[in-house]
Amino acid sequence: MPRPSPMVARLGFILAVLIVWEAFARLSSVSPILIAPPSAILWQVVRIIAGISTVPDFYVHAWVTLRELIVAYAITAIAGVGLGLTFASSKVIGDAFEPILLTLYAIPKVILYPLVVLMLGVGLLPKIVFGVMVGIFVVIFNTAAGVRQVEPSYLRLAHALGYRRAQIFFKVILPAAAPTILAGLRLGFGYTIIGVVTAELLVINAGFGFLIDWASFNYFTPQLYALIVLTLGIGVIGNSLFSILERRWVR
């Protein structure tokens, strides 16, 4: 018997997990407060998106989270690539600041979050700042690494051809470093979401964090599962967008 393609096998595996989960949730004696069957979760997701569920003001809260995410990621991407280019452009600056960066990277950022909240309060700002703190390092490191990997012979050739600094940067360095920088931007996006959602769940105020807390506090289990699926969905969609971009730009 020929093997099905990995894609088909993967979908088959996911389907099997969902069927077992559905059967377990419906047939076992485990309390429905602890586990919701996939069909009920899907039904909740549809109702939430259609705006007819019991979840209060879903789109208002979703917009709060999305806004935090967009601002945090914009800062992460722009400042991260900028700092990465700065560190790679000069050996002295790179050597001076990279150990500091590495040390900061090695600290689990979440222990700094209470300090951020103490300084900035409970609104959007601390979530954005924390999202940047979690997301920016991988962008900086990848950008710097990407620029350093550029073949020195390309640079010598560009010099010999009489390219100016700006020309070398845009025509040689940036295209050659693009794959590594893009990979960093993709990872940075994943980390930024983790940062924003963590911040929302630790200090409950608004956004998806608020809704998830509302559902778990009231033991609205299908709603809780549905909101979790929707939050994870943002991550999955964002990640697939980056994969498509990478495939188009990097060949």
Partner: protein, 257 residues
């Protein structure tokens, strides 16, 4: 910077001078900002107050830090152990690896933290929740690296070793393991990072166990200098562990080439 170049004529010391100078300047501005009341000392402790509280806070915090580190060690061992077992099993078949790897990569990038309320529902406000969440955080980066390490093993080298009469365990010890080790070490670095983040997220969220609970309590009672001292202590300990693994991974990577 001018002063730095004149005091350190040797260019090799220039980066170090810039680094120390920047940190000193940062601490100075921070100290002045609190002293002159630009920022309320209720919300920001000055470096001097932080250091003044360091000894007392360390005594207070050590039992909590010890509890956190034990939880972390258990979670890391659990997550990495499971990842090694399942990952090595997966490596046995190229087909299985291609099938499951995209799902495992997805497991690294999605915000697993939203599952936390679910874990609290299942396991309660208990240490189990901390361990399960941190182990799960460590599992995904580790297993992705185990799978990547599998591709480092060159089939023709294994074949050669077998042709030279190496036994099964010898092939494993002398060919397969050395090829995989650098990638496994960098996997351990990422797993350790993730597990630590996981432990502190849950400890802060539950505010019942370990260093996370202590930091949470100090923050909500506005004992700001002690809070900063406790965070400084935790940051130092975790940074030392993570940096150690980082240099280990780099050392193993260089040793290979």
């Amino acid at each position: 910077m001018m002063r730095a170049t004149t005091t350190f004529p040797n260019r090799r010391h220039l980066p170090l001078a810039i680094r120390v100078g920047t940190i000193a300047l940062f601490l100075l501005i921070w100290e002045i900002a609190v002293r002159l009341g630009w920022v309320d000392s209720l919300f920001l402790a000055s470096p001097r107050d932080t250091f003044a509280n360091l000894a007392a806070t360390t005594t207070l915090a050590l039992p909590h830090l010890y509890a956190t580190m034990t939880t972390f060690a258990v979670a890391l061992a659990l997550g990495v152990g499971c990842a090694l077992m399942i990952g090595l099993l997966l490596n046995a078949s190229g087909y299985a690896r291609i099938t499951f790897l995209p799902l495992l990569v997805l497991g690294v990038t999605i915000p697993k933290v939203t599952l936390l309320p679910l874990f609290v529902l299942w396991f309660g406000i208990e240490k189990t929740t901390v361990i399960v969440y941190a182990a799960l955080s460590a599992f995904f980066p580790m297993i992705v690296n185990v799978a990547a390490a599998g591709t480092e093993v060159k089939p023709n080298q294994v074949l050669l070793a077998k042709a030279m009469g190496y036994g099964h365990s010898q092939v494993y010890r002398k060919v397969i393991l050395p090829a995989m080790l650098p990638v496994l070490a960098s996997g351990l670095f990422y797993a350790c990072n993730a597990a630590m983040m996981g432990v502190f997220i849950v400890e802060l969220a539950l505010s019942r166990f370990g260093m996370g609970a202590l930091i949470h309590d100090l923050a909500v009672t506005f004992r700001t200098p002690e809070l900063y001292a406790a965070v400084l202590l935790t940051a130092t300990v975790t940074a030392v562990i993570n940096m150690g693994l980082w240099y280990l991974a780099r050392y193993l990577g260089r040793w290979r080439t």
